[in-house]
Structure formats: C-alpha cells, structure tokens
C-alpha cells in the first residue's frame, strides 16, 4: 500500500504509522459525562468500507494526515493534512463536524 502525502508525494506505507479513526473528537474533559469520555476513549466502529483515518508520516515530513481509505480494498480516495482538517473544523459551527 502507498499513501500520497500532500507534501512528499507517493510513499511506501512503511514510512507511516497508523493511529485510527479520525472521527472521534475529544469531549470537553471538565464538562463531559463519564459515558461520553468512555465512548471517546474506547468505542470504535469496525467499518467495512470507506473510512477517514489518521496516519503519521513519521519517516518523512512528520505531518499528521487524514486518509480516506476503503478498508476492504485499501483504495485511498483522499489524503489531507490533518492541520487543514482541524482548521476547517475550527471555523465551522460547533456540532456540525462531529464526524470529521
């Protein structure tokens, strides 16, 4: 599998490490219920199909990326810098981007 890093171009997946689902957003720790924190820390969907994931280009430009990948085929549809995704989320109204 190869990932087309927005900065570095197409690279072998050995240069990247996988974090997981990019959708969960950390609840406000002071306000969130125990259930909300439990959900954020432990509960994940095991999706067969397209999914947005966080990958780290550790052996390259050291950027975090949001990769849209089909878990059945490894086909990658989109790769975005995670920083851009976070910035876009910060400018959208609260609650509208719960699935990043």
């Amino acid at each position: 599998m190869r990932i087309r890093c927005p900065s570095c171009g197409e690279r072998d997946n050995g240069e990247f490490s996988y974090l997981g689902d990019a959708a969960p957003l950390r609840p406000d720790g002071m306000e969130a219920s125990a259930e909300a924190m439990h959900d954020y820390v432990y509960l994940r969907d095991n999706r067969a199909g397209e999914m947005r994931e966080l990958w780290y280009h550790g052996a390259g430009c050291r950027a975090w990326l949001v990769v849209t990948r089909d878990t059945r085929t490894h086909a990658i549809r989109e790769v975005q810098p995670a920083r851009d995704v976070a910035k876009a989320r910060a400018t959208t109204p609260a609650g509208s981007a719960s699935h990043a």
Binding site: C8, D12, A59, G60, R62, A63, R83
Partner: protein, 203 residues
C-alpha cells in the same frame, strides 16, 4: 566555579567511520565519491502560524533566496534553504557561524534551532551515486522525478535521512541525525561496495 581539565575534544561526526581511501570494488574508477562535510552551519526553521509572508521576506533579505516549496531546495553555493516539512526548512551555511543571528533576524516569524552538531552530512557524487542511493530509498531519484534543487525526507535502512540534489553529475548531500551516522555508514559502505567507493578527506 573551578575549571576542570577534561580529555573532551571536538570530533567530526564521521571521524570513526568514513576512512579516506578506496573501499569495495578496486578495479576501474570509483562509482561513488564520498566527502564527509564537517564544519557546516545547520539550523531548523519552523514558521510561526500566520507569519509565513514575513518569514519569506526575512529569508529573502538574509539569503537572497526565496523559501522553497515542498520538496524544493534553494541553494547558492554552500548556503541555502532546504524544505524539510510543512512550514519547516533546514537552513545551510558553509561554515560555522554563518547562521549566527538567524534566530534574532527571524524573531516572531519562525522558531530557529541550531542543528550544526545535531546532523551529520555527507556529499555523494560519481557516476553511480544515484544507483547507490536507490538501493536505500523508496523515492524515485530518476531525473524524470528528481533533480538538482529537489529534496526528499525519507528513511534508509530505517534511519531517517534528508537528501537534496545539488547538480546533475549527480551530486547529493545527505543529512542524518548525528548519533545514527555510524549505522548509516555501515549501510553506505555495503551498498557502494559493488561500484567502488572513494572516500575523500572531510571538507
């Protein structure tokens, strides 16, 4: 505080490994010529969010060079800037002290950290220089995809390296974290053996 005499002496990053002379294949001209680069000035430059335009101006004023785009290296002799990550560059100076004052010059526009003793640099040239590097990296170094003024941050034998090409002889500079210099040399000596490798005195 009392002065203590020590036996500590400055030592080149490649002093124990890159022995000058001919290595590997003995017949014919060497395919790879290696020059350890000592005494350079190196600094990492990380743009302050939102101050990119001001940083570009300050770099232009100091180096007479524009900030390279991703994958680019803007060089003028031994000085220059090499892209090394989103909003990050490696600044180069040919001699220790050449980057003195860079932090102050870029104050508010970038974070600057001295890397002169943190990275070890080799210059690789010769007719087989590209073939040697290709044995280690999963990046296309062919002229159709790479060339003078291009850089790649990647790994060789699981060791993080940064490569930038200087000219199309071809000549590459290769930087590695200093503590990995010995490990990288083990790989390089083995990879270059089939082509014959001449190590020159450090410069």
């Amino acid at each position: 505080m009392a002065e203590h005499a020590t036996l500590w002496r400055p030592r080149g990053a490649w002093a124990d490994t890159a022995r000058p002379g001919r290595h590997g294949r003995r017949e014919g001209p060497p395919g790879l010529i290696v020059t350890p680069r000592e005494g350079l000035a190196l600094a990492s430059v990380t743009a302050v969010d939102g101050a990119e335009a001001r940083l570009a101006e300050a770099i232009e004023a100091r180096f007479g060079l524009s900030l390279p785009e991703p994958g680019g290296a803007h060089l003028s002799g031994e000085a220059g800037l090499v892209w090394s990550g989103p909003d990050q560059w490696l600044a180069l100076g040919g001699a220790r002290g050449d980057l003195d004052g860079l932090g102050a010059a870029l104050r508010g526009a970038a974070a600057v950290a001295d890397q002169s003793d943190g990275r070890a640099v080799l210059r690789l040239t010769g007719p087989d220089a590209r073939r040697v590097l290709e044995k280690g990296v999963a990046v296309d170094l062919h002229p159709r995809a790479f060339g003078p003024g291009r850089t790649a941050v990647t790994a060789i034998a699981h060791i993080g390296v940064q490569i930038w090409q200087r000219d199309d002889r071809p000549t590459y500079d290769l930087a590695v974290a200093r503590s990995f210099a010995g490990s990288l040399w083990t790989w390089l000596e083995a990879a270059a053996a089939e082509f014959g490798c001449e190590v020159r005195a450090s410069a």
